[in-house]
Symmetry: none
Subunit: 201 residues, 2 copies
Amino acid sequence: MSNHSDAANKKVCVLLVDDDHDVLGANARYLRLNDLTVVVADQAGTAIERLRADPVDIVVTDLRMPDCDGIEFARQVREITPLLPIVFFSGFATVPEIVEAMKLGAVDFLEKPVEPDHLLGKIRSVSASFRSAIALQRQALDISDTTVPLRKRVRAYEKYVIESCLLQHNGRISCVLETLDINRRTLNEKMNRLGIVRNPV
Amino acid sequence: MSNHSDAANKKVCVLLVDDDHDVLGANARYLRLNDLTVVVADQAGTAIERLRADPVDIVVTDLRMPDCDGIEFARQVREITPLLPIVFFSGFATVPEIVEAMKLGAVDFLEKPVEPDHLLGKIRSVSASFRSAIALQRQALDISDTTVPLRKRVRAYEKYVIESCLLQHNGRISCVLETLDINRRTLNEKMNRLGIVRNPV
DNA sequence: GCGATGTAGGCAATTTATTGCCTATAATCG
DNA sequence: CGATTATAGGCAATAAATTGCCTACATCGC
């Protein structure tokens, strides 16, 4: 679908999550008309599956979902892809929810109802300007108040470092070995353990 | 006094901005009792003056102020000190306000009324993470040129997480154990390995 | 003083991670 | 085609981290 190998004419691929089927359908249609690839899901579980199945460039999700709250969903997304930009929208959001979402690296927070056109603009600007140092920094440095095992945090951090490094060197393992000053066998083991997928260069 | 190390001796300096004099006074008193230096201001203009006059380590401000809104204030702060951590609090904040505040680099957003104790914990954790943030940033996020071993990065990150957590819970080991979901012996070992000093509570 | 609480650390068993050696599999080049 | 390069992974030795058990020490309230 969204083949990452050809940067020039690659379509931006959006994972759109909303439990309201009408809104979901309408937005998806509008985005597709505007030359985006759209993967839809009407709940968090499905969205995570889709995410595992197919790499996307940005996640746009409702904060309120029937099967799982958006913050928890964002955490799961972060475990799979620590770098993926997430845009939230919601009709009723509390202050801690918004703050937590932003800390989890949300790039924006829209209020319902979301204008399709506004959404499109947001997606375009985000996918264009993503990879701001601040976003990465926040994500890596954030310490939340909640109970998150140190083990888990360290794993997430390690994954993030390795993935960033991979991205930076276009998936060239030998460069990562050198940059991170690490034994090849160790890197292999870590990537397996952390579930880092090797995308073909 | 004499039982503190050099690093611990340096008091954290807080710029506290609130137009409610009673709350301002009460919070300032509480923070001072807990060994922080507090500079107060009851409006944005004065706060900016204070900021220019005297370097502070963290700004804690109301979002609503008589002479200027908090977002505009944060912009002015950013012009003077682009990296200074800002914590907002407010009773009525809109979604765009919170999002904008977080984008301007707010490190947190508290809801009024703010518990003095909660505020203290927040300030300590923020100033701690900020202190190590620069070092960590160099090691962890400056992926580009230098070869920084993954090992070293992970160590720095672990140290940073533990230290922040310690500060956030005012040095109470048992809380850290719970928050980080870690065995006591393991934490002890890690702290020794990473050279984390236990400052007396 | 005495017991309760919170903490540190020695020791040793166990688990987990690292890594060298060797082989295998693609892909690419000449 | 064969040689070269880049990579993955099995196996096993070794190194390091985790953690339970036990002891010790300080502090605090009674």
